[in-house]
Amino acid sequence: MIDVSHLWKSFGKKVAVQDASFKAEPGRIFGLLGPNGAGKTTTIRMINDILTPDRGEVRIKNVIAGPQTQKWIGYMPEERGLYKKMKVGEQLLYFAKLKGLSTSEGKKVILQWLERFEASDWIKQEVGELSKGMSQKIQFIATILHDPDIAIFDEPFSGLDPINSELLKTVILELKAQGKTILFSTHRMEQVEQMCDDIALFNEGQVVLTGNLSEIKSSFGENTVLLEYEGDGSFIDAIEHVRINNRSNRFAEIRILEGQAASAILKKAIEQVEVKKFEQVEPSLTEIFISTVNSTKGMGSAT
């Protein structure tokens, strides 16, 4: 549905995206993942035909990104905004028309969505008069009111209040159930774990890892130990050949590296603290990200 292949984009001397390739399929949620400045937004803008790639191409439903494919996409940018002085209804109608709906079609779907979000009363109000949460709802409606086959959200949960976060999650899952292609970007790994079927990990403009999330995880094996304990946990710092993620004074997520074994860690733990829980699991996405970035860096310095 969204086919990104060998995409390059630079601004002046800065290379924002380097040879990025991935595919997002219908009925699935695709997560673009990576720290700020990794090239996620630039990639999304190229998918939306806001920017043109220097090299490579974006295909939407097998059509190269352009005015035609823009109609198929609903896009909610990270920096969200509406015309403050325009009335809610008029504003939504404007966006609907820009996406190719007729005035009457537009009016019909706007009423449906406003009702769905319990926002019908706002139709004649100026956006500037609405609360932040209310205008966020209007923003969702603006994104999907033309019933696009593809929905793209850039950092959708940033700045949302908990109610709207839940609402957006529900809407995204509904869209997925309807067989739409959903792509969103985030720098918060736990959101991806909860929602995404497929991911692409971005680092410094490159896709360092892409594919089915559960396959990726299992390919890393059960090389992580979750340890819950009571007592003095300082022995954990002394363990060699591990990487410790997500540490608190009663919990540690320990990634086992070469030269270390889970059983050895268990033995040490029993000697030092009261072990409440010891579990061997697949690595978290944070861990996957760190180890992938490290290994590509290693490759880079080796060659």
Binding site: F11, G12, P67, P77, Y83, K84, L98
Partner: protein
């Protein structure tokens, strides 16, 4: 470019602005403000130029004070017998406004008449006293020199001078150069104001879309050039509607107020006649136009809607109105894309000041050239300047109003303008499409040069 999308943007820009209260307030207030301005300046012109200052004369010659008092009995007062010091005291205490000392030697052409006053009255007082003294002294000296009446008549006689314009068909017409010069300058001024104000509207609109972060949603639906063109056309539609309404309102207001003005002016003339010199008042009221006094008096005694002004307003040719709209629209199109490009480079209006200067400079320059062009509309300077696209909208309309501009010059200037609108639009669009997505950081001219080369 997808013109359907351009139309959607155009409609939004147009209806959004036309629906605001500000649009209607400014549309309604401007003509009334203008009418007040015009009415006010006519009223000031007609206001009796009262000789409110009282001047006492100490006349050492003994022969001049009488003639001066005959010039203006309300102003001059004879202080015969008083000393200069006593007179000065009276000036100090304010019993009189000034003391005019005429030394004996003045009749020999040597001494100076001296006015001692507190400084109120200004230039017009000084001017009129100087005139009065000069004519009285000259009169006396001519009499002393025993000049014959014949020679004096020679000096007094006026040399008649009228100007007649010969138009293309060889038909002579009355020359109303003064009137058309004023019209030409006003039309240039209107375009000047319109370019800056509608240009600023465009700029603010672009900045708003950037600061409110709407631009990215819009850019995911249409091309920047479509947004740019839709915006420019939408606001030009606003401008046309506004000017249309103004034209209607002006016609209405002037139709309604003409009888009133005529009545007031005729009243003025009626009373002026009883005063001293009616010619002066009439002349100052009408700027030397031909006066049909009887008509005005008739109007005064019989005010009816059909009353006409006591002087003739030369006709404004339809072609001039059409040229005005042509140059206004072309000028707007040229400048608005520049303003849009600048707006796209900034996040806040205050940031854009530095970049706005280069756009305002040519507009102001054209305005300053106009002061020259109004007086000499056919010089090489005027011709060249009015054909430079950035100056054409303001300078050409002034020339067209005042003089017969050869058709080829208008043609060339229009072609040059259309060409540069196209060129500027292309350049602006390149800046715009990159600028609108840029956020944070000041943009300088170096960046602009870089953007022109960069693909988006």
């Amino acid at each position: 470019m997808n013109f359907n999308k351009v139309r959607i943007v155009l409609e939004r820009e147009f209806f959004f602005r036309v629906k605001t209260k500000m649009f209607w307030i400014s549309t309604l207030l401007v003509p009334f403000g203008f009418a007040l301005l015009i009415g006010g300046s006519i009223a000031i012109q007609l206001w009796p130029q009262g000789n409110e200052e009282v001047l006492a004369i100490i006349d050492e010659t003994g022969v001049l004070s009488e003639s001066l008092m005959a010039e203006d009995e309300n102003r001059y007062l004879n202080y015969q017998g008083k000393t200069i010091d006593e007179g000065k005291q009276d000036v100090q205490s304010g019993t009189i406004d000034g003391l005019l000392v005429l030394p004996n030697s003045i009749l020999e052409g040597e001494g100076d008449a001296e006015l001692i006053y507190k400084g109120s009255g200004g230039l017009s007082l000084l001017g009129s006293v100087r005139g009065d003294v000069r004519s009285v002294v000259r009169e006396k000296r001519l009499a002393q020199a025993a000049i014959t009446d014949e020679i004096r008549d020679l000096f007094d006689s006026r040399v008649g001078f009228t100007s007649t314009k010969l138009n293309e068909e060889g038909i002579t017409e009355e020359d109303n150069t003064a009137f058309y010069s004023a019209i030409g300058f006003i039309l240039g001024l209107i375009i000047f104001v319109a370019l800056t104000s509608y240009g600023t509207i465009i700029l603010k609109g672009v900045v708003e879309e950037k600061t409110n972060r709407i631009i990215e949603i819009i850019a995911s639906s249409i091309k920047p050039i479509e947004l740019l063109v839709g915006k420019i056309l939408g606001i030009s539609a606003v401008a046309i509607v506004q000017f249309g309404l103004w034209a209607v309102l002006f016609t209405g207001i002037s139709a309604a107020t003409t009888p009133i003005v005529a009545f007031v002016m005729a009243q003025q003339e009626g009373s002026a006649e009883q005063m001293t010199s009616r010619e002066d008042v009439v002349a100052s009221a009408t700027n030397g136009e031909e006066v049909e006094l009887s008509q005005a008096l008739e109007a005064a005694t019989n005010p009816s809607p059909t009353t006409e002004l006591p002087f003739q307003i030369p006709e404004i040719p339809v072609s001039l109105v059409l040229y005005f709209f042509l140059f206004f629209i072309l000028g707007y199109l040229l400048y608005s894309s520049l303003f849009a490009a600048i707006g796209s480079t900034t996040d806040a209006t205050s940031d854009s000041q530095q970049l706005m200067m280069p756009v305002f400079i040519p507009i102001f320059m054209a305005y300053m050239f106009n002061v020259q062009i109004m007086q000499n509309p056919s010089t090489t300077f005027a011709t060249v300047v009015s054909m430079i696209p950035l100056f054409t909208p303001i300078n050409m309309i002034t020339r067209v109003a005042i003089s017969e501009v050869p058709v080829w010059q208008i043609g060339v200037s229009v072609v040059l303008m259309i060409g540069s609108i196209y060129g500027v639009l292309l350049i602006s669009a390149r800046i715009y499409r990159i600028g609108i997505l840029q956020s944070g950081g000041k943009v300088g001219f170096k960046d602009l040069a870089k953007w022109l080369r960069q693909s988006n």
